[in-house]
């Protein structure tokens, strides 16, 4: 009996909310890009950063780098291939690839070569220079650096779900393949596991 009354009050309150609606208010606050903010539980900038950090420390600490330098007396030229998304989420892989590229170039120990699309644009520019640039600033053809290694990879997920609870397991695999020999010089992996919980009820 008492519960019925409580329910009644609840419904009355709810019906009033329905009738009058509720206003929306918006606030904006600036945060440090390194802050971890998880909203939906989907792949986000923090995951991207974590992957880049892990891969960089790993790739720079492995023997392939000093071996190459000892052999060729110069830092290796690396090109970024594709990082395939095999998950059930749309993931902007370019974000962490760019992070990776930046850190590796800034370390001064690896050089990066422009990828296919970037090269195409640069080549168009070079062709344009042949017609329009002054002789002393015009850049020559066939002076491009051929890459020594290609960085490739993929991201996979396993999702386990039970009602509003979800466990998401991501694995990012990256590998550095020697373009001349097809040998794999380095394999890196980063695992990320998340527990996402959504309540089944609200008032």
């Amino acid at each position: 009996m008492k519960t019925m009354r409580v329910l009644t009050v609840i419904v009355m309150a709810a019906s009033l909310t329905v009738l009058y609606g509720c206003g929306s208010s918006k606030t904006v606050s600036r945060v440090d890009p390194n802050t971890t903010i998880d909203l939906s539980g989907d792949w986000n900038d923090t995951d991207s950063r974590l992957v880049a950090e892990e891969m960089i420390t790993d790739v720079l600490s492995r023997p392939w780098l000093p071996e190459f330098k000892g052999d060729k007396k110069r830092p290796p030229d690396v090109i970024v291939g594709t990082v395939r998304n095999r998950t059930s989420e749309h993931i902007a892989t370019t974000t962490f690839i760019k992070n990776l590229e930046k850190e590796l170039i800034n370390s001064g120990r690896v050089n990066f070569v422009a990828n296919k699309e970037e090269r195409q644009e640069v080549r168009e520019e070079r062709a344009d220079q042949q017609e329009n640039a002054s002789a002393e600033t015009m850049k020559k053809f066939q002076q491009e650096s051929g890459a020594d290694f290609m960085l490739q990879g993929d991201i996979t997920t396993i999702v386990d779900q039970e009602g509003g609870d979800k466990v998401k397991y991501y694995q990012v695999n990256m590998e550095l393949v020697n373009i001349e020999t097809n040998r794999k010089a380095w394999l890196g992996e980063k695992k990320i596991k998340k527990f996402v919980s959504q309540s089944g009820t609200k008032f």
């Binding site: 019925m4 009354r5 609840i10 009355m12 959504q198 009820t201």
Partner: protein, 460 residues
């Protein structure tokens, strides 16, 4: 249509002391908003534009009617808009709408207790519409086709995997007793996409899953396995050197494949055929015994899918090479997903729960009515009593209304054709068997080892 239904109540039911006045107040308050959801008139102009193949205008109409949909049907608003943009071939406008709908549906997983109580007392139209199970899965099917049409295979595959995840979660809720547990169509599309990206092993697995699912499609929805699927199985099995599998599928009718053959590409034509089903109200009778053991029978309203397309149109597809070699090919698109049949089955499966819930709703209404009548009896005016009782019953019946909201812009059927062709540029022509629809000279290019998607809409 009337069915009799008995909710699980004992014959000696004790009436709780309902706070009648409060209940009346909320009933009155809620009945004001009870008529939520898109008004049927809303669809008049949209339906006409769709039948004429003018999807851009239909999308315009939907946008103008956002208020008509109401805030309880925002999922439908986004679904309708997303699908109409998809029909119109504007993937860039369609995809964000589908994502918005998906996000809203996800948020609606968290149920509002207050609204749920309200829906018990009044009807389900008070609840935000979160889509039928098959509608939730079809969002990702259309998203996959949006990406596939734009040549973004990896992103399309993400959507195909999402269909799988969703159906798995839905089946878990039904303890695996539901009919629509897997989608054969999207598995086939995933196979095409894997093959197109050179992952033959994954392609073979997807084709095989599709083939297995089509076996259940035949018994559940009367949909046969598309004939070309066996060819795809033989081809990918041969390429993977799965000799036993290749032999099995060839024996079942698949075309044998020569590994040394010059690599071909393929054109995959998806046809959307006919108007999808709509929901109509069907009333059922619920009998509730009162404290004295007297049976009172109430009506409850339930939704039921009715088909809007019952034709058997087929679509002939012809391609002609635009280059020097005048090679040509033709095929008839085959029924590969019967949306009307899937809709009917999934609603039927869900009705188990709705029935129980509606039974509960009828009981609550009955209790409210009984209490109101007993309050009336305290006045010693028998004439007023009779009229009062009738008025109360009428009011109770008036608030009972089935939730008829549904994704109305869906097609009734998907037909599919696959043409394996030598690389080159082709002119494509599509002609319906009733002669009332044709699409001429659509240009499509075929690249070795790749699949190109062409989408055809005839939603008459």
């Amino acid at each position: 249509m009337q069915e009799t239904f008995h909710p699980p109540v004992t014959s000696r039911m004790k009436l709780p002391d309902v706070h009648t006045k409060a209940l009346w107040f909320l009933a009155a308050a809620l009945s004001v908003v009870g008529a939520c959801g898109p008004v049927q008139d809303l669809y008049k102009s949209i339906d006409v534009s769709i039948a004429n193949g003018d999807y851009a205008s239909a999308a315009q109409d939907v946008r103008k009617q956002e208020d008509g949909y109401g805030d309880k049907s925002q999922v439908l608003y986004n679904l309708d808009l997303g699908l109409l943009y998809h029909y119109a071939g504007v993937a860039d406008s369609s995809t964000p709408r589908f994502f918005a709908a998906e996000r809203l549906i996800q948020d609606l997983y968290t149920k509002s207790v207050s609204l749920a109580v309200a829906s018990f007392v009044i009807n389900d139209n008070l609840l935000p519409y979160e889509g039928e199970d098959f509608e939730k899965a079809l969002i990702n099917v259309f998203l996959a086709l949006n990406y596939a049409e734009q040549g973004q295979g990896d992103e399309a595959l993400v959507e195909a995997r999402k269909v799988d995840l969703k159906l798995r979660e839905i089946s878990r809720q039904y303890e695996g007793k539901n009919t629509y547990q897997e989608d054969a169509f999207i598995r086939y599309i995933a196979g095409v996409l894997y093959e197109s990206s050179g992952e033959i092993n994954d392609a073979f697995i997807s084709y095989r899953n599709s083939y297995e699912t089509y076996k259940t499609y035949l018994t559940s929805y009367g949909t046969r396995t598309p004939s070309f699927l066996l060819d795809d199985l033989v081809r990918t099995a041969t390429l993977m050197a799965f000799t036993e599998d290749a032999a099995t599928y060839a024996e079942a009718g698949g075309k044998r494949f020569d590994r040394k053959a010059k690599p071909q590409g393929s054109l995959v034509v998806v046809c959307y055929v006919g108007k999808g089903p709509i929901k109509q109200q069907a009333t059922s009778k619920v009998s509730v015994p009162d404290a004295d053991g007297i049976i009172h029978t109430f009506q409850i309203a339930l939704p039921k899918f009715v088909p809007r397309y019952t034709g058997n149109r087929t679509y002939a597809i012809a391609v002609r090479n635009r280059g020097g070699a005048a090679s040509q090919a033709s095929a008839v698109a085959e029924l590969s997903e019967n949306v009307t049949a899937i809709a009917g089955k999934t609603l039927q499966d869900r009705l188990g729960m709705i029935y129980l819930k509606s039974g509960g709703r009828a009981v609550l209404k009955f209790l409210a009515a009984e209490k109101a009548k007993s309050e009336l009896k305290k006045n010693d005016n028998s004439a007023l009593n009779i009229f009062g009782s009738i008025a109360i019953d009428l009011f109770i019946s008036a608030t009972e209304q089935a939730d008829l909201r549904t994704w109305r812009t869906l097609p009734a059927e998907f037909h599919l054709a696959r043409l394996n062709l030598d690389p080159g540029d082709y002119n494509l022509t599509v002609q319906s068997s009733d002669g009332k629809y044709s699409m001429r000279d659509v240009q499509a290019s075929v690249k070795p080892g790749k699949a190109s998607f062409v989408i055809v809409e005839d939603l008459r």
